[in-house]
Symmetry: C2
Subunit: 349 residues, 2 copies
């Protein structure tokens, strides 16, 4: 029997509640499958850890993580007590970057039993492939002058390697999907990065003659998520554009609380990290009312990446059956608490 | 009687159709008012001009425009024949920049008679104030190395002056609105520009103790446009974030075809430019079916800026009455053509 060693970082806020729920679901589906099992090792890193130790994770944290097959993370952030640039860049973004998780994949899909805030959505099923290691998030820039003359510069750095990697991954996904890739650009306004992005897209697509393509500016694309989300299959986007589109994707599904995500090291040299799109939601943390579906669906993405697609489909089906039966948390207009949603999903497995 | 000298640039595609329609409406409302009139001077600048002369406007174009009170523009772009970076940076963005139209204002409002693609929108009425002269659109950057090692850098440049100007304008607008300003940031990902933006927002808001404020990351804010657009009054955003939010604003209203915009030189040193959010729509150009409402509502914004708020309200009321009576173009689910919509608006004046 195959055993996967998973590093678990519940993190902050509702992360501590939704992660154990998702683990129960994953253990159950593994047992049903019979061919594999998980070994979970918890790491109490996050803002509480920071308040005690002055750092978000121990100095050898990254080295420690490298020993595991994958990482399962809840949410990071307690903005009232720890500034975002410390909590995120000291844990979440640090892991993404140092473990070279350069591809972020996030689906947005109309789920049965969920009411989309769109009036009359046709069935949509989008996969956003987000470049996850550079671009607008390059952490490069500076300031000059003081007072009234102060200027800040932020440099967005795009490498051919990083850009091409994201695009090729998108085309590969499209092969097993509906053979369509849309590139998110803004070359009419951003005159260096995005023309470069467009050029590389034009080159890469030549290697995939069977895949149809489209190119949309990010402003139009955001509007299209509202007007015709069913028109998209795979979308490839820069770090920032992918960030914006995937929150929008969560919104049109019905709640950010259900949107899953995977930070992939596609070379499989280091562990990948699976973390939902939602944050730590300090306002509802500790009350047992958080929506565990984002984290559970994120678990499904981990199953897929480990090669257990059948088990993954089971999890998604159980989520849909649960929603269809009306067992929903408050963010989805229901009255159930976390425990009730989790139990319904376990039953539907 | 006050006479306003307006430079008219219909531009490309449907710009040539919607601009004359809007001018008829503006002339009519001026006549009804009796206190002012317009003197329109047409400039045939745009992509056709480029194909003939090799430039989007004559070399002394900017100097010519300075002689007018305001500029009324349709749309620019014929991507099949003229690359965007030529058509836009040679006309639209050039005018914005050289005439120091450093504030872009765009409303998004639930109109009576219009079906929003949102299932159950509460009444929303948002004004986005977009920084219009710098930031991500600074046209600064470059490339290094070739082939597999090529790298492109785009510099987003934020000055305190430009940032503060946009924010103060937003607070001033909020005074006459619902006393609320939201700042669009992304300081958790963009580590130089957006912390600077946040600092300036914290300073500026101290001068407006009666105005409530909120700060949202752009990813969350995009999602909120779908989930709770009624929660916003005035939003201040960088050039790129404002661009994205205002297309989204058009989408939740029901069509990009109705969204208006103003590029303001708030110092009134140079003319301002009024142009709708939509583009030249080459696919439907020349058929007489374009929606003239974006251009007409844009005319209302020009009336406001000229101090004729009463006339402006009349125009907006006539638009709403027309929509409520079911006279709509195809993009809004109707069957009317441009002429019919224009005539209905004229009648409702
Ligand atoms: C055409 C393009 C350069 C422009 C912009 O991004 O400013 C447009 O999208 C707009 O919003 O006016
Ligand atoms: C928390 C933040 C830095 C992060 C991002 O922008 O990448 C988040 O929004 C996400 O999408 O995972």
């Amino acid at each position: 029997m195959k055993t996967y060693k998973i590093a678990v970082i519940p993190g902050d806020g509702i992360g501590k509640e939704v992660v154990p729920a998702a683990i129960e679901v994953l253990d159950t589906v593994a047992k049903l499958d019979g061919g594999f099992q998980f070994e979970w090792t918890y790491f109490p890193w996050g803002c509480d850890y920071y308040l005690e130790h002055g750092e978000m994770m121990p100095e050898d944290g990254i080295e420690t993580l490298k020993k595991y097959d994958q990482i399962f993370l809840g949410a990071v952030g307690m903005p009232e007590l720890v500034p975002d640039h410390i909590s995120l860049w000291g844990l979440l973004i640090k892991i993404r970057r140092e473990l070279k998780q350069s591809i972020n994949v996030r689906p947005a899909k109309l789920l049965q039993g969920l009411q989309s805030p769109l009036r009359d959505p046709q069935n949509f099923d989008i996969t956003v492939v987000r470049e996850n290691s550079e671009g607008e998030y390059s952490d490069s820039g500076g300031r000059i002058h003081q007072g009234a003359n102060e200027i800040a510069i932020q440099n967005a750095i795009f490498t051919r390697k990083g850009t091409e990697r994201a695009m090729r991954y998108a085309f590969e996904l499209a092969k097993n999907s509906r053979q369509h890739v849309t590139s998110a650009t803004k070359s009419n306004g951003l005159t260096y990065s995005m023309p470069f992005w467009d050029e590389i897209f034009d080159e890469v697509k030549k290697d995939y003659p069977d895949i149809d393509t489209a190119v949309n500016h990010i402003d139009a694309l955001a509007a299209f998520f509202v007007m015709k989300p069913h028109a998209f299959d795979v979308i490839v986007a820069s770090n920032l554009f992918g960030d914006i589109l995937t929150d929008l994707g969560g919104a049109i599904m019905g709640s950010i609380g259900i949107a899953p995500a995977a930070n992939l090291n596609i070379e499989r040299e280091y562990p990948s990290m699976f973390e939902p799109v939602h944050g730590s939601a300090p306002d509802i943390a500790g009350q047992g009312v958080a929506n565990p579906i984002g984290q559970i669906w994120t678990g499904k993405m981990m199953l897929d990446f480990l090669g257990h697609q059948q088990a993954g489909i089971k999890v998604l089906n159980a989520i849909e059956a649960t929603l269809a039966s009306g067992v929903k948390t408050r963010d989805l207009g229901g009255t159930a608490n976390l425990e009730e949603v989790k139990n319904a999903i376990l039953k539907n497995l």
